[in-house]
């Protein structure tokens, strides 16, 4: 049910409303994308690109524009399978570092990923690297119990880099396949906290050659244009390798990832669609683009064939 329906075919309904490819059509498209947090400048570029295509191919009917829209939008986000999959080592320990601003869903996403990986037959361990926020360690422990993963922790208030060190040693000695490292939420403009994160990453680099194999930035789907700044800053200090886009089970669309993809070329690996362990899915460009248009498509009263 939470799986969003296939984009293909459903776009018909949007183009049903506007028969002619005119300014009104483009204006509605523009508003739709802006209301999805794609961001004004990216929207304007996309619309220009679309207009060019329409002119080039001499398209008059909106139904001929439909495949062009999905081609351009989904094409922009499509990564191919490889970039999307987690970079798991076939041999030895894989370390995944999870970062992001406060409250976006880092800890929950770790719980969900642990569940997913466990189901794939991996031995997963969790590192309680958020030693700052009240109840953060307990929260990760509940998730560890839920999905059957060991949690390596120290006391609240201890040095997160030391926790990571411990966790890596434990993961090695217990023969874990994947170590998922939780970190405290931090706003990207807090320099000392970003430095702390770099230190955490350095410890991982030092203890496991080639690690961290993934640095996942968790972005809240309801966040607007600031998500771009987050991606830039976290990208700079931790070399983000992928994005987890959460909270898409609400009405927010997470359109800012279009701009992020365009400017920074970071692939989205997973989307979060709820608070339970199963509510994580691989990112699918088609489905995402369908999500952008979902409201228009789903409200039949808007559709009035002329």
């Amino acid at each position: 049910e939470k799986t969003r329906e296939s984009f293909a075919g459903r776009m018909n309904e949007l183009v049903y409303k506007y028969r002619k490819v005119d300014e009104d059509f483009f204006e509605e498209l523009e508003e739709l994308l802006i209301s999805s947090d794609v961001g004004v400048s990216t929207v304007m570029e996309l619309i220009d690109q679309l207009k060019d295509e329409v002119r080039l191919r001499n398209l008059k009917d909106t139904k001929d524009v439909q495949p062009v829209i999905s081609e351009i939008l989904a094409g922009m986000l499509d990564e191919g399978k490889e970039a999307q999959q987690l970079n798991l080592q076939t041999d030895g320990l894989t370390v995944v570092l999870v970062v992001g601003v406060n409250g976006v869903g880092k800890t929950t996403s770790i719980g969900k990923m642990a569940h997913y990986l466990t189901q794939e037959g991996k031995k997963v361990m969790l590192a309680a690297g958020d030693t700052f926020r009240a109840g953060a360690i307990d929260q990760l422990e509940v998730w560890g119990e839920r999905v059957g993963a060991d949690v390596i922790k120290q006391q609240a208030g201890s040095d997160p880099a030391a926790v990571m060190y411990d966790a890596i040693q434990a993961a090695k000695s217990r023969g874990a396949d994947v170590l998922l490292c939780d970190t405290a939420g931090r706003l990207q403009n807090k320099v000392n906290l970003m430095n702390e994160l770099e230190k955490v990453k350095r410890v991982i680099e030092r203890e496991v050659p080639g690690a961290p194999h993934e640095v996942l930035l968790v972005l809240d789907g309801t966040t607007g244009q600031n998500a771009m700044v987050q991606a830039k800053t976290f990208g700079k200090s931790t070399d983000v390798t992928g994005i987890v886009l959460t909270k898409l089970d609400g009405t927010a669309k997470g359109g800012i990832i279009m701009a992020i993809k365009r400017e920074l070329d970071i692939p989205v690996k997973f989307v979060g669609l709820g608070e339970q362990k199963d509510d994580l899915q691989p990112f699918l460009a088609d489905q995402f683009v369908y999500g952008l248009f979902k409201d228009v498509l789903d409200s039949p009263e808007d559709v009035h064939p002329s």
């Binding site: 508003e31 004004v40 601003v101 406060n102 309801t222 244009q225 600031n226 700044v229």
Partner: protein
């Protein structure tokens, strides 16, 4: 800061019209285009922007040119005044019930900052107003939510009422009020679980809590980084519960915070506090005029007016 402020944006147009006796409709149109972009990039909802631009355009055109100001200055002044007015003008205070305790419910989306805001508000009420609040752990869903509130309670040496996570939040709230009366607390702060505005079952639970405890304040906690969706969230929470105010969290980031305008516009309730950090003392009263300049990215409107 990621985006140009309105000041930079308007520089071009302003230079053009400097020295002119009056601004033409075309000049205003150009300036409004920049205002629109600045607001959209600040995450103000596009419908709210549309209305705002329409209003300002009218005002700017209809205004008599003040002797002391050039036409360019005039337009900026109108934009700033209108935005400040939209933000609510004056700073707004917390309700006090005539009969103790005053009951406050915290509501909002997942991860917005409700639990943190509950502890901050309790701390604020005691420090600034010498009150004796009781914190109530009514989130039975999120892993370790109760533990989180208890830890925060301990940090500020404040009691936390909890019945564990096997009792319904409605029952917890009800018993908490009884307990508060018994122990002579003058404020009760109920921390509820994060929920999506479209989750009817959980929204219904909030309505039930509301009916049971008849709160004096229902505060929507909203993340300052929220984008276009802020209107949907605020509107639904307001329709279902009747909000009395808003707390804008995480304002210590570098977001412009246009969600503040969106929320104010659709709920017409005041933003009462701003969260400016993770620590329990990082809460301050909300200042509409400061927020207006922040959103427009015009730290110093006066300088801009001087330049125009």
């Amino acid at each position: 800061m990621a985006f140009e402020g309105l000041a930079e944006r308007l520089q071009g147009t302003l230079t053009k019209i400097r020295g002119k006796g009056k601004v033409s409709e075309q000049d205003i149109k150009e300036m409004m285009r920049e205002v629109r972009l600045a607001l959209l990039e600040a995450d103000v909802n596009f419908k709210v922007v549309k209305q705002f631009i329409a209003d300002v355009k009218e005002k700017a055109l209809g205004q008599e040119v003040m002797k002391s100001l050039t036409p360019g200055q005039q337009v900026i002044k109108v934009v700033n005044e209108e935005l400040t007015a939209l933000m609510g003008g004056e700073q707004s205070k917390l309700a006090v019930s005539s009969k103790s305790p005053t009951v406050i419910m915290m509501v909002g989306l997942q991860g917005a900052g409700k639990t943190t805001a509950s502890a901050k508000l309790a701390n604020y009420l005691r420090k600034k107003h010498n009150r004796m609040p009781l914190l109530v752990a009514a989130d039975i869903y999120r892993p370790a939510a109760i533990k989180q509130l208890e830890t925060l309670g301990k940090q500020i040496d404040m009691p936390v009422f909890s019945l564990g996570d096997q009792v319904s939040p409605v029952e917890i709230a009800k018993q908490a009020i009884a307990k508060a009366k018994e122990d002579h607390h003058d404020y009760v702060l109920i921390d509820t679980a994060g929920r999506l505005h479209v989750d009817q079952e959980l929204m219904g639970e909030l309505s039930q809590i509301k009916e049971t405890v008849e709160p004096d304040e229902i505060l929507l906690v909203i993340d300052a980084m929220t984008g276009q969706d802020a209107v949907n969230v605020a509107e639904t929470f307001n329709d279902q519960l009747g909000l009395s105010g808003v707390i804008l969290s995480k304002l210590d980031g570098d977001t412009r915070g246009g969600a503040a305008i969106s929320v104010k516009a659709v709920t017409n309730t005041p933003i009462k506090f701003a969260g400016i950090g993770e620590k329990v003392d990082q809460l301050e009263p909300f200042y509409p005029d400061r927020m207006a300049s922040r959103i427009l990215g015009m730290g110093d409107v006066l300088t801009l007016i001087e330049k125009a």
